[in-house]
């Protein structure tokens, strides 16, 4: 659970003198202002009254066509009727939770999971069960064990929440065999899965794996998409594709929440998609973020002590670093803030106190120089604490830098075991 101490500290990370690797922000300064101006001009000229009006709850047909283009690009052809346009992807998590969760219901999530989903599940009083991950994503074998255990307890999860591709916060991607097995499990047990895929198109290497939604063809998998990472988070536009009965309930829920998604935002997307190839901007982002990821990985290898491990994401926005278990990253953040640098302490991605020796590092929101300097400063305070611990325990452990070529796996369960205090 995100503690109040951590919330208080996150407030300091927003100060201008702080190099913040704590955000999850795309770099919107890369978007061409002239494109924005042209899109806005076109809406003003051609559809001013409509843009200022309410729209249908499920979204505008033109916007849905744009979404269908994005879905097709990720190998998931989709009809207009099989989706609802939402106010950002976050609203999908909220609406799915609102629609499906009764107090005390089990929701299964990855451990660590997207920190922004945690307060949503808690608000609907779900009992969140987190499944360990490794470098190939959620441990589906452990998922099956957990489902068996819950079965014996007479409890049936309402849904499984997963970010299979370039996961937030862990930066890992679920392997194809696990994707297949997860979809099989969903079919065998008639379990719903919420696939959250904000980062799938931000791929820096290798070939895309099929989304769960493509493997399942929309029978048990609900799919969350968003324009936040491929166009702009400020327009607050996402979507959900789901089996028809679920979609109907979500539609009802959305009516109560906000009647409809911003018509202005929807028309902006439409005008933007008609103006040119939307993939060009995604490609330009991919080039920028790939360099930033590489910069961060190089800096980690240079500045973090050998006792630290981190993931090597093939896309997305985040790297997850795991430190020796005697370091509490919430306390470490206090020390790092004295050097004007910030990250997200791992405890925010767990509901059970795990993750206290881990941190999430964002590489998309800072330029390469800031990333290098930020990682240097964090590495310095981590090294300082590793050395201090060595001094205190009488076990001198020289904190030499890790070899640059080392590819680091997700931490083992033992390493992530909760610290006594």
């Amino acid at each position: 659970m995100k503690s109040s101490a951590m919330r208080d500290m996150m407030a300091v990370t927003a100060r201008p003198e702080v190099i913040s690797l704590a955000g999850g922000l795309p770099d919107t300064s890369t978007f061409p202002p002239e494109t924005f101006a042209a899109v806005a001009q076109r809406i003003a000229t051609e559809s001013c009254a409509r843009a200022l009006q309410y729209g249908p709850t499920e979204g505008l047909a033109e916007t849905k066509d744009c979404i269908a283009e994005v879905m097709a690009a990720e190998g998931m052809p989709l009809d207009r009727d099989d989706m609802i346009v939402t106010t950002g992807g976050q609203q999908v998590i909220d609406l799915v939770a609102k629609t499906l969760i009764d107090p005390g219901d089990v929701v299964i999530a990855e451990g660590p999971t997207y920190p922004g989903a945690v307060p949503v599940f808690l608000a609907y009083q779900a009992d969140v069960v987190q499944i360990e991950m490794d470098s190939a994503g959620m441990r589906v074998d452990l998922l099956e064990e957990t489902l068996e255990r819950l079965d014996r307890e007479g409890r049936r999860p309402k849904f499984i929440y997963t970010v299979p591709t370039f996961q937030n916060p862990a930066g890992v991607t679920m392997s194809l065999s696990r994707r297949r097995r997860l979809v099989e499990i969903a079919h065998e047990r008639e379990l719903l899965v919420l696939e959250d895929n904000p980062y799938g198109l931000l791929r820096y290497e290798g070939d895309a794996l099929p989304p769960l939604y493509a493997l399942d063809r929309g029978v048990f998998v609900m799919y969350l998409g968003t324009f936040s990472k491929i166009l702009s988070p400020g327009i607050r536009l996402g979507w959900v594709a789901a089996p028809p009965p679920v979609l109907e309930k979500i539609n009802l829920g959305k009516q109560g929440t906000d009647l409809c998604t911003s018509t202005l935002s929807q028309l902006m997307v439409q005008a933007y998609f008609e103006r040119g190839n939307w993939r060009d901007y995604v490609d330009s982002l991919t080039d920028i973020y790939r360099k930033r990821r590489d910069t961060m990985l190089d800096a980690l290898a240079e500045h973090f002590p050998r006792q630290a491990e981190w993931t090597r994401p093939g896309g997305g926005l985040f790297i997850w670093a795991t430190l020796p278990d005697f370091i509490d990253t919430t306390d470490l953040l206090a020390r790092a803030l004295r050097d004007n640098v910030a990250f997200v302490p791992g405890e925010g991605a767990f509901l059970d106190g795990r993750g206290r020796n881990a941190m999430r590092l964002n590489f998309s929101g800072s330029d390469e120089e800031s990333i290098r300097e930020g990682i240097r400063r964090i590495g310095e305070v981590v090294t300082e604490q590793v050395e201090l611990y060595g001094t205190l325990t009488g076990k001198e452990s020289p904190a030499a830098a890790a070899p640059a070529a080392e590819v680091v796996q997700m931490p083992t369960p033992a390493e992530r075991a909760r610290r006594a205090q």
Partner: protein, 326 residues
């Protein structure tokens, strides 16, 4: 930010131009922003002219531009509570609310405050204090075992200067100590190892040399050793006035007032105490600028004494020197 519109002051209180200093880079920034916001509203209701300042690099320029008659320091922790901002205001000849530089320095440094209490015969839990260099340069780690023997487990390990619950760790055995020290050193180069007092958490707020009703903090559920829980809204409930055995309230008041005077506090402060199973009171620490949020203890204690939040803020402003300190 624009100054809030002034309305007529309450009878007897002259409207003044008050700069409310809040926020800053302290880890308690968020609490301070809430305290400050609430103080601004109260000052505006009292008819004062309010200039809110989120303390940062432009502090001096903003103070020179605003030319306040008095500065209300609604900051907690580093900079605001440790005498730093007070020193700057002295240099600028701007009167300010609350304690002066010396009292802030004494109270914020828990180690110094505890040494002063011991010297004055005020009961405070046994302790040892170290700075980082003792471990790094002087091999103090080898003395840890002896310290642990003298204090008895469980012990509490905390940074010397952190005001909130941040960095406070509970060590049940020697194995917990090194990681707890590493955590505490994240906040300060000086840490305190203190005997843990099992008992009831009491707080005595003082306003203008008068102790207010005692507040007891009761952690909810079975989370006694979870320090975090003590500071989370909804996980701790507060009772004011605390229901205490005969004579204990008077003793707590007397002890708190002695600490307040010993440290040289002015206008207001909060003193935290423990009441153990034997009915003995010990003083943990004093806070020269306690929280002023909706859930903070000083406003609750004032309320219990029949002093509204507006009246409390009004009194604090009135107690600030009328002219600049010399």
């Amino acid at each position: 930010m624009k100054s809030k519109a002034a309305r007529p002051a309450e009878p007897g209180a002259r409207p003044r131009r008050v700069a409310v200093l809040k926020g800053g880079r302290s880890l308690e920034r968020q609490v301070s922003l809430r305290s400050g916001g609430r103080v601004e509203d109260a000052l505006a209701r009292l008819g004062h002219e309010v200039e809110p300042i989120d303390v940062g690099l432009d502090l001096i320029r903003r103070l020179r531009d605003a030319r306040p008659e008095v500065a209300f320091i609604a900051m907690h922790g580093r900079d605001g509570e440790d005498g730093t901002v007070q020193e700057l205001l002295e240099i600028l000849d701007i009167p300010y609310t609350g304690s002066g530089v010396l009292a802030c320095v004494r109270a914020t440094d828990k180690v110094l405050a505890k040494h002063l209490m011991v010297e004055a015969g005020i009961p405070t839990p046994d302790f040892f204090a170290f700075n980082e260099t003792a471990f790094r340069e002087l091999g103090a780690a080898e003395a840890l075992a002896a310290i642990e023997e003298r204090l008895d487990f469980p012990i509490v390990i905390k940074p010397s200067s952190q005001g909130s619950a941040l960095g406070i760790k509970f060590a049940r055995s020697a194995a917990d100590v090194p990681a707890a020290l590493v955590a505490a050193f994240s906040y300060d180069s000086k840490v305190l190892l203190e005997r843990h007092v099992d008992g009831r958490d009491l707080a005595v707020s003082i306003l203008d040399d008068e102790p207010l009703p005692v507040v007891e903090a009761v952690p909810q559920g079975d989370e006694f050793y979870d320090f975090q829980a003590r500071y989370e809204i909804g996980r701790t409930s507060f009772i004011c006035p605390a229901e205490l055995p005969a004579g204990v309230t008077e003793q707590a008041h007397e002890l708190a007032l002695r600490v307040y005077r010993l440290l040289g506090c002015h206008a207001f402060a909060r003193v935290d105490l423990m009441l153990d199973a034997d009915g003995e009171l010990t003083v943990l620490e004093a806070n020269p600028i306690p929280g002023l949020t909706e859930t903070s203890l000083l406003p609750q204690a004032a309320e219990a004494a029949g002093i509204s939040f507006d009246q409390l803020v009004g009194r604090i402003v009135e107690l600030a020197p009328k002219t600049a300190p010399t």
